[in-house]
């Protein structure tokens, strides 16, 4: 039974290498991508890719023979199907059987898909069209759903598929047209493919240049500071780590399948806020940022730097010189809060909190970095003092979700009574109201709206509506069980694109703070109440020993809702139900750091010189704080300091004295008792004070502030690290190099000619050889090859054709080459006179056009250098 072949092995090889390999690679990538979203695949993308590739390869080889598709594929599919049934039917170890059958099903699907496409590539000309269009269309949809909206990411995800689609159409046609009789097929394919590649690159660059602005516009509009979600699992954390390991609240939070958090101590704060009795500490939630925007597609809450009446004060404490402060009073104005507000102070001792992060109960407006007392340096990285415009009504006790705690409820009633005075829902202006009551228009959000109306049907005022929502989360179902539960792992709805908030509110009823805050937000907004989500840390007063001191751990990172009340400003509300399973772990609060020692002198300026031996630093001070009085010097004054006892710190912690370099911006602090008695007179200038000080001044602490340029440089470095490879640049460079190479290739015959010609003209010794070589090269390049003729025959032929004296010269040259007899005078003359005249004569008789085109022909040059030399 002779089994004929449809394709030769040459063709099959070409199909495997040029079609199957790129397709398999593409599938590996796609499976890797899909594995990130579907747990059932168990992240075995390599194995799955191999399943697909084996199906593909096997089918290409199999269908190279004259096998019919329908009958053979039916058998393959049937085997797979019955094996699957068999595995599913195994009773021993049911779970294993189920597991195996699922694994086998994945294998079957991928293998059969590979098999089908293998058949398509092997036999069907039209398959490639469908395949390419299908992939392209699918990829458009997939890429459009990306959360990481950057030009590079979009292009990187989309362009390979675009190129692949056209590549497959092109290559399959190329292979189809492959002639079995063609001898140099590999060369043919390489030539064609590289040509095609270059054309695609050029066209791609042109198209990209046309659409460049559109891409940038999309990035600008949608891509603002998106975090990296490519973490593999659908998990979310309320905090993020910077490169130094510092923890901060994220500038967005996504509704995810699970929340990861740990028990790490983040910071310790001393909050100078007490109840009117002056003894009972009054804790406040610490706010980091506000999420005012919600991306419906990725279901992510985001910071919007353009929010109206921005009341978020977010300085970088690491950039403010020690003991100097930064104040932004505009945030106070933007709170529009006049009632029940007061200024409260807090000292925040950072442990794991990011050096650049500023946290304070809302609404912070002041930041002053302080120095960490020496004995606590190992415990705390840095400390700053914050001042806030705080509402009495924002006490954590008012905000905590009482969840049935009668005492707390009664206490909170005080607050609600006050807020009930606000009858009207209103904001400072229309823009404010529109922004803070914005809701996506979608069926799913309508459901939230309906629910909100239903819940708050009997609530007359804003606060009652708010409470009705809070109570809804605390309500019980018909079995007396809580309707809503707290869960760090609420899971995700079956459909990846389904709305997680409605899933949470109406079906699952399990979630963590972001779900409660988010659901509350949209319920409030649907009722027209201006609201936003605040993120930060919830405050727990665990210690009675150290009133006013609070310890903050990573699992206290929190999100809650803020509602705007006329005159009272933004009010905090926490609707997250308490976690029934895990009570607050009894973390023992440590001993608080002692108050920083009294500082007498703080000098801020640039390092002039460092004396490592004497441990002295000379600095040019620009700002001076002496006995709590602020001086600014112009021009800058020099101050010699003794740093032998000083601890030197930078952003990242303690450093050596040698780290201080000339030109650095430092702040020197002194607690020296010696300075206590040296008081400044009322009208003393900086110079006068410096005069009074001992030389050198003993300094206890030096803080290095990273200079702006260095900071900028670092930032740039960081950006460099983050910026993905700029493929366009690479493509452009590649094309330029390629073009240069091509030009060089075409110019090379001419360049070689220049060299050979110059050598022939200038040669003193062996002139005959160089001239003969140049003449032969010139003739060869013009297509006049000697081939099988003898030198003399060829020379005579040339003489005949061009009426030159090549033969005469050739005779001399041959004599010189083969004989030891020296040349006669006339022969010498022949050598001298032959060359220029010969070239001129040949050139004269060959049209410029011909010469030009022949000199572009690299094949002639190759021929010249590869022709067999007679030894």
């Amino acid at each position: 039974m002779g089994l004929g072949k449809v394709h030769s092995w040459k063709k099959v090889l070409a199909q495997l290498v040029l079609l199957a390999v790129p397709t398999a690679l593409f599938f590996f990538y796609m499976l890797w991508d899909v594995n990130r979203f579907y747990n059932i695949l168990e992240n075995n993308w390599i194995r799955q890719g191999i399943y697909f590739s084996s199906g593909l390869g096997a089918a290409i080889i199999f269908y190279a023979f004259r096998f019919r598709f329908i009958s053979t594929a039916t058998i393959v599919f049937a085997i797979c199907y019955f094996t699957y049934k068999f595995l599913g039917g195994l009773t021993i170890g049911e779970f294993d059987a189920f597991y195996f059958s699922i694994q086998f099903l994945i294998f079957t699907i991928l293998f059969c898909l590979g098999w089908l496409s293998g058949f398509g590539f092997s036999r069907s000309r039209y398959f490639t069209i469908g395949w390419s269009v299908l992939l392209l269309v699918t990829q458009i949809v997939i890429v459009s759903k990306t959360t990481d909206i950057k030009v590079e990411t979009l292009i990187n995800a989309f362009v390979p598929v675009l190129a692949y689609a056209f590549y497959i159409i092109y290559t399959s046609e190329l292979i189809r047209n492959m002639n079995e009789d063609e001898k140099h097929f590999a060369w043919f394919i390489i030539k064609r493919l590289s040509g095609f590649g270059v054309i695609v690159l050029i066209l791609f660059l042109i198209v990209f240049n046309i659409l460049k602005n559109d891409f940038k516009a999309v990035e600008k509009e949608w891509g603002n500071s998106q975090a990296d979600y490519n973490k593999g699992k659908d998990s979310e954390s309320m905090t993020q780590k910077d490169k130094n390991g510092g923890v901060s609240n994220k500038d967005q939070t996504k509704l995810a399948g699970s929340l990861s958090k740990d028990k790490q101590l983040i910071f310790v704060a001393h909050l100078d806020n007490y109840f009117p009795d002056g003894k009972t500490p009054n804790p406040l939630y610490f706010t980091s940022c506000y999420y005012t925007k919600f991306d419906t597609l990725t279901q992510t809450f985001e910071i919007d730097s353009l929010m109206p009446y921005n009341d978020l004060f977010s300085p970088d404490p690491s950039r403010i010189p020690l003991y100097f402060s930064k104040i932004d009073s505009s945030v106070i104005k933007n709170t529009f809060a006049t009632k029940n507000r007061q200024v409260v102070t807090a000292d925040i001792y950072k442990v794991a909190l990011s050096a650049t992060n500023y946290l304070a109960p809302s609404t912070g407006f002041f930041c002053q970095p302080l120095s960490v007392p020496k004995e606590y340096k190992s415990q705390y990285k840095s400390v700053y003092r914050a001042k806030m415009w705080v509402s009495d009504l924002n006490s954590a006790y008012f905000i905590y979700n009482p969840a049935g705690n009668k005492q707390l409820e009664a206490f909170q009633e005080l607050r609600f009574e006050k807020l009930r005075e606000v009858k009207k829902i209103s904001g400072p202006d229309e823009r404010f109201m529109k922004y803070y009551t914005f809701m996506p228009k979608d069926e799913e959000y309508k459901k939230i709206s309906v629910l909100a109306k239903q819940i708050t049907a009997n609530a007359p005022t804003m606060i009652d509506k708010m409470l009705a929502i809070r109570d809804y989360f605390l309500s019980k179902d018909e079995f007396g069980q809580p309707l809503f539960k707290y869960s760090d792992n609420p899971g995700i709805p079956g459909m990846p694109s389904a709305n997680k908030l409605t899933y949470f509110l109406l079906e699952n009823r399990k979630g963590y703070c972001a779900y409660y805050a988010g659901a509350t937000l949209f319920m409030l907004r649907s009722l027209g109440i201006p609201s936003r989500v605040a993120a930060g840390y919830l405050t727990v007063d665990r210690s009675s020993k150290n009133p006013g001191w609070y310890w903050f751990y990573a699992d206290q990172a929190h999100a809650w809702t803020q509602v705007y009340f006329q005159d009272y400003g933004w009010m905090d509300f926490d609707t997250t139900v308490p976690d029934a399973n895990t009570q607050q772990s009894p973390q023992p609060d440590g001993t608080p750091p002692l108050n920083p020692p009294q500082t007498y002198l703080v000098a801020d300026g640039e390092v002039v010189s460092v004396d490592l031996a004497k441990k002295q630093i000379s600095m040019k001070i620009t700002k001076l704080l002496y006995h709590d009085k602020d001086y600014t010097t112009a021009p800058a004054k020099d101050l010699l300091t003794d740093v032998s006892m000083a601890s030197i710190t930078a952003d990242t912690g303690t450093v050596q004295l040698s780290a201080i370099k000339q030109g650095m911006h430092i702040t020197a602090v002194s607690y020296a008792e010696a300075l206590k008695t040296i008081l400044a007179e009322k009208n003393d200038s900086v110079a006068a004070i410096i005069e009074k000080l001992p030389k050198p001044v003993p300094v206890d602490e030096i803080k290095i502030l990273v200079k702006e340029e260095i900071q900028a440089l670092k930032k740039k470095e960081k950006e460099m690290m983050q910026v993905p490879t700029d493929w366009f640049r690479i493509i452009k460079i590649f094309l330029v190099i390629l073009a240069a190479f091509i030009v060089f290739v075409f110019l090379s015959p001419w360049l070689i000619w220049i060299f050979i010609n110059a050598k022939a003209k200038r040669a003193k010794t062996d002139a005959a050889y160089y001239r003969y070589r140049a003449a032969m090269y010139y003739l060869n390049q013009l297509g006049l090859t000697k081939s099988e003729l003898g030198p003399q025959q060829f020379a005579m032929l040339m003489d005949q054709q061009y009426s030159t004296h090549f033969n005469a010269f050739n005779n001399v040259y041959q004599k010189l080459k083969y004989s030891t007899v020296s040349l006669t005078a006339s022969e010498q003359k022949t050598v001298q006179e032959f060359y220029p005249a010969f070239i001129k004569q040949i050139a004269k008789q060959t049209p410029v056009k011909t010469r030009f085109s022949r000199f572009l022909n690299i094949y002639n040059t190759i021929h010249y250098f590869t022709q067999p030399k007679i030894s």
């Binding site: 979009l154 675009l162 056209f166 559109d214 075409f746």
Partner: protein
């Protein structure tokens, strides 16, 4: 009616050759359109990142597609315009040569092309379709280029191995040159005149050894083992018949017993130099319009005749091929080539019957087919069955017999893309099949009785 239909179909097909794009392109457009429609349904809610990116990527894909297709079209147009301009201005140097081949195991003809000047579309293809025998068109094919040392060449110089189904003489009338782009979406055609004729040659197959001897003496140089009767001395007598030569009456016998007998002039000649081969293409059955008989049977018949000829020549005999139809006498390199040509161009004929065609005195080998007239064969074989070798080629055996295994094979294995399968089916449905089979059976029976006769089976 049928003819008109066929004509219009032919006409449409011809028009189809000149459509400037391919089915492939139409399919691509349809697929793209379907994809686009589906994408439109996926557009999503307005004012979302998805929608914006989606629209942008779609635009990117469409723009890129348009760019690359425009580029492809431009490359084709340049080549086409250059070619038509050159055609009008200086004329195209289009040469076709058909070198005859040594090895001819398949009905494949190498056709050499030389086209100048022609500008190949960038990365694209120049394809050719040949019009032959006034009505037929070849497939569209790509010329396999000979190694070229030029970077930019405006010459196409190469070959094409043309699979031709029939063993016969072909006449090329025209060539259609197609310019195709790298995707082969666009295909612009231009016709140029060509004129060339060639004949495909029968293949040589090994066949059963044939018992045959020369009977014709042209030179008395070769002795033969078996003496043959020749005209000469008076040896035998026979009864006088009305048209016998009266001078040959043997009066002595008449005198003795009153019987009129004449002498048969017969002697046995020990010399015979030539072997005359008489292949009969005569058909006693009506084969009008039967494609199976016209093509695969004829091919088979020709192949076997040629094989017989070759076998006899290889044995060292002087074989003379006597055609039963007019063959144009073209100048051939050798007698063998001439015979090959004669075989190639022969067709089934109804003009010259076997009886009139064979010169029984000279004939050494007579080749008959399943279409030969049984009576005439019988007549000849009865008279000369012991002197002349009759070779019978059962045509129906050119197809392999169907076995049960074949059906199983058919289920899983595709037939070669040749027409054999079609012919097989056609033949099994043909009315002629029974007649031919009967004829074949009779001929076989007839030949079995004679030692010198051979039935040449396909693989025998």
């Amino acid at each position: 009616m049928r003819k008109r239909f066929r004509n219009s179909r032919f006409f449409l097909k011809r028009i189809g050759f000149y459509i400037p794009f391919t089915w492939y392109f139409i399919l691509f457009c349809l697929a793209s359109f379907a994809g686009y429609e589906w994408l439109q349904s996926q557009a999503g809610a307005p004012d979302s990142a998805y929608k914006d990116i989606f629209a942008l990527l779609l635009r990117f894909a469409i723009l890129f597609g348009i760019a690359i297709f425009s580029f492809a079209l431009v490359t084709v147009m340049i080549s086409f315009l250059f070619f038509s301009w050159k055609k009008r201005k200086t004329g195209i140097d289009f040469r076709i040569t058909t070198p005859s081949r040594e090895d001819s195991t398949q009905p494949k003809q190498t056709v050499s092309f030389y086209i100048h000047p022609v500008l190949k579309p960038l990365l694209g293809f120049v394809k050719v379709r040949l019009k032959y025998d006034s009505v037929h068109f070849s497939e569209k094919f790509l010329i396999v280029k000979r190694a070229d040392k030029k970077v930019f060449s405006t010459t196409i110089n190469g070959i094409y191995n043309w699979q031709l189904p029939e063993i016969k003489e072909y006449r090329i009338d025209k060539a259609i040159i197609y310019f195709e782009d790298f995707f082969q979406f666009f295909s612009i055609a231009l016709t140029i005149n060509a004129s060339n004729s060639f004949h495909t040659q029968p293949a040589t197959r090994t066949s059963k050894a044939i018992k045959a001897f020369p009977r014709k003496t042209e030179e008395t140089s070769t002795r033969i083992e078996e003496l043959k009767k020749v005209e000469g001395e008076l040896i035998n007598y026979k009864n006088f018949e009305s048209n016998d030569d009266v001078r040959r009456i043997v009066w002595k016998i008449y005198a003795k017993n009153k019987e009129l007998v004449v002498r048969i002039p017969e002697i046995l000649d020990p010399y015979a130099s030539h072997m005359y081969l008489y292949p009969s293409f005569f058909t006693s059955l009506n084969i009008q319009g039967n494609e199976v008989v016209e093509i695969p049977f004829l091919n088979h018949y020709k192949t076997v005749i040629w094989s017989v000829y070759k076998q006899l020549v290889q044995k060292g005999y002087e074989v003379k091929y006597i055609p039963d139809q007019d063959v144009s006498q073209t100048q051939m390199e050798s007698a063998e080539e001439q015979v090959k040509y004669s075989i190639s161009v022969s067709r089934w004929q109804t003009d010259l019957e076997l009886r009139d065609y064979v010169k029984t005195r000279d004939a050494s080998v007579i080749v008959i087919s399943s279409l030969s007239n049984v009576e005439q064969v019988q007549e000849l074989i009865e008279a000369h069955g012991n002197e002349i070798s009759f070779i019978f080629i059962p045509l129906t055996e050119s197809f392999n017999r169907q076995h049960l295994g074949d059906w199983f094979q058919w289920l899983f294995v595709q037939q070669e893309k040749e027409k054999t399968a079609v012919y097989k089916t056609n033949w099994s449905l043909s009315l002629l099949r029974l007649k031919v089979a009967r004829n074949e059976k009779q001929l076989k029976q007839l030949l079995e009785q004679y030692d010198r006769s051979t039935v040449l089976k396909k693989n025998g």
